[in-house]
């Protein structure tokens, strides 16, 4: 009996490749024979036993990730069959991908937005948002013109404040399923994160050159 597609993704059934016992799609190890199972189709949230929400329990996410990572450690498979080794590596790769996606707010927002059917621009074609582009351009120009570490830090702290506000907004927009709001905030966050990355590099260069 299916209630809703979102709720059933996590509990789709599979069959253990070794002993044939029915298992959930999210099962890492068969409950009957204990052998490692292929990653299956479960989404990143289900893989890490997190609710499909932008608000994430960071400590809980870490806990679940490190627990699974420990269980999938190559040392534990050193004396297992080639097939189990291969499957455990697929599991580990899927686990890392899920963790890195959910850990990072921009990646998590993009992933969740895609699940919700928000239309996000890919690479290539420009976005039609002159105001955002103008802000991004001005911010990068200001960074390029900064010649001291403290000037860069001032720009960084403004960006950090804006980022905190955006993340709060995203939480509310996802909760309200405000698709256009989510889309706009993700584009803005993408530029802010890129700026932050560039600012860090610039600050490092300025610091290293002794200015």
């Amino acid at each position: 009996m299916t209630m809703s597609t979102a709720a059933t993704t996590a509990s789709e059934t599979a069959v253990c490749w070794s002993c044939g016992t029915a298992t959930a799609d999210t099962t890492t190890f068969c409950a009957a024979c204990g052998l490692v199972q292929p990653p299956g189709q479960s989404d990143h949230f289900a893989r890490l036993a997190q609710p499909r929400s932008f608000d994430i329990d960071a400590a809980g996410l870490d806990r679940r990730y490190f627990e699974l990572q420990r269980q999938l450690h190559p040392d534990r498979f050193a004396r297992k069959t080639a097939r189990e080794k291969a499957i455990s590596q697929q599991q580990a790769a899927a686990l890392n991908e899920a963790y890195e996606t959910l850990k990072n707010p921009l990646r998590r927002a993009r992933y969740l937005a895609q699940q919700r059917g928000v239309d996000l621009p890919g690479e290539g074609r420009t976005i039609d948002d002159p105001e955002l582009l103008m802000e991004a351009m001005e911010r990068r120009e200001a960074l390029a013109e900064s010649t001291t570490v403290s000037a860069v830090q001032a720009l960084e702290s403004t960006a950090q404040e804006e980022r905190a506000g955006l993340l709060q907004g995203l939480s509310a927009q996802f909760a309200a399923n405000d698709k256009s709001g989510v889309r706009a905030a993700i584009l803005r966050l993408a530029y802010l994160d890129k700026f932050t990355e560039e600012a860090r590099a610039r600050r490092f260069n300025l610091g290293a050159s002794g200015q």
């Binding site: 582009l133 991004a136 351009m137």
Partner: protein
Amino acid sequence: MAYSEKLIDHYENPRNIGSLDKNAEDVGTGLVGAPACGDVMKLQIKVSADGLIEDAKFKTFGCGSAIASSSLVTEWVKGKTLDEAGTIKNTDIAKHLALPPVKIHCSVLAEDAIKAAIADYRAKTEKKTVEAEESAQAAE
């Protein structure tokens, strides 16, 4: 990844970096960006009275391929008519610079930028014409 000599040359010695007065009537500005990579690109053209692009400037914050693509476009459009400049295709840019497949989107952005600059210039001159007609009518 090996980049072509032409690409490296445009990246290391970019042509026509800078800005034109975006409020000037003979200047068209295209501001484009792809948030997926956090790139932002500004391309400006200055159009002479006889409709030729007499100057072009760009400012790009992005990867080397994005910088090289916009640099190349400013070089190509100089001396061209707006219609000619509007026919520049991203595939020409990508081919000239031998962009690797993962960087094709940078040339797409540069094509968007020149198109946006042309559209901005045309919108400005149209507005000027409309305003002139309106004031002519008002004077009657």
